[in-house]
Symmetry: C2
Subunit: 218 residues, 2 copies
């Protein structure tokens, strides 16, 4: 796997993709016409077809391009203290929320979901492996570090990760996808982050390390 990918798009192509993304963000899929992209990016339709094959190729390229921008940021491998783990979990949750509530992420997810029903679930798969994949891997690594440090107790990492994800996101992602104003959702998110991490630690924290006075609501 020395060079499994184009390793990037040409600067010109990146600029075009950037323009296409911003065109998608405002106006949705129906606004993303080949002529519109060509006009907005000051390029010709012929170039578009030469570079990306056809419209679906352009969509796929947009997803790949956006995915190539996320920093995977593999965290530490050393031993963790309680506070470090908690802080890392918190930043993970906050990063996750930021990504999911971002304009381009929402637009791209809407695009992929909208055309997932038809025969070609190609975009959906791209979205899953390029978007969810890395995020999940990063979280799993963090959880595993927590377990190795004796701070977390679980047998199935994927299960633990899904629990954390559910606590952090709940149905807010779908609601945003359906059109709830992102600011509204973000406000909800803000207060959810700490509560989600708290709850997660109560569920999966190693018993003797995390147990607190038991009652929160007193």
């Amino acid at each position: 796997m020395s060079k499994p990918e184009q390793d990037q798009f040409s600067p010109r192509q990146s600029a075009v993709l950037e323009e296409a993304l911003s065109l998608l963000v405002e106006g949705g899929e129906k606004a993303l016409t080949t002529a519109g992209v060509a006009r907005a990016a000051n390029c010709s339709k012929e170039s578009l077809y030469k570079w990306f094959g056809d419209r679906d190729g352009l969509l796929a390229a947009m997803i790949a391009y956006q995915a190539s921008k996320v920093r995977t940021y593999e965290p530490t491998g050393s031993k963790l203290t309680r506070e470090e783990l908690r802080a890392h979990l918190l930043t993970f949750v906050r990063d996750l929320v930021d990504v999911l509530s971002g304009d381009v992420s929402l637009a791209l997810n809407r695009l992929s979901i909208g055309q997932a029903g038809a025969g070609g679930g190609k975009l959906g798969r791209l979205m899953l492996e390029r978007g969810r994949g890395p995020i999940g891997k990063r979280a799993m690594a963090l959880l595993d570090a927590g377990r190795r440090s004796g701070l977390l107790d679980f047998s199935d990492g994927g299960e633990a990760y899904q629990t954390l994800y559910g606590l952090a996101v709940s149905d807010l992602h779908v609601r945003m996808l359906l059109g709830v104003a992102p600011e509204t959702a973000r406000k909800e998110f803000g207060s959810r982050a700490e509560r989600a991490v708290d709850a997660f630690l109560r569920l999966y924290g190693a018993a003797n390390k995390w147990e607190e006075p038991r009652i929160r609501h007193a």
Copy 2:
């Protein structure tokens, strides 16, 4: 506004909507053309436009029609035992999962999400208030009954509900919307239901009523 709603659709119209739904399930939005619906339902395009106004009206009618089929099923108002509450929570989670993983639900959500990006988030709002609304109300009623019976301890019902939802669904809904095979997801769901309820009760159960031997993972 003496008659704000038709309070239903005519049998003929219901049959047409049913056909449109099944047409949407297989083939996605692009397969849902007015001509196609007319052909599949053995009706004329003119009737479609007479009944539903335009294509968007048809889509909205499909959502309203599907929503009118869910039984809201307001549960008991009496006192609950621990086992009853647990059973009710479990059936709620299972029903929720069944609904979310259903073909028509997925297709309708894809449709609404797909066109939520553009100016008209009309369908998304419909989906939220007609779909999520009733389900949430039912869950909140159940949680409130649990609290009144002294089995649950929480201050904000909405927060508790979102936690339950997140534990039960996690990211599986979005993954299904993106095209993950529903059977795969459903298999994951099956084992999640009990774990979700377990976790929820550990988080929100009144302390002296629910605490168990503490460790599940042996």
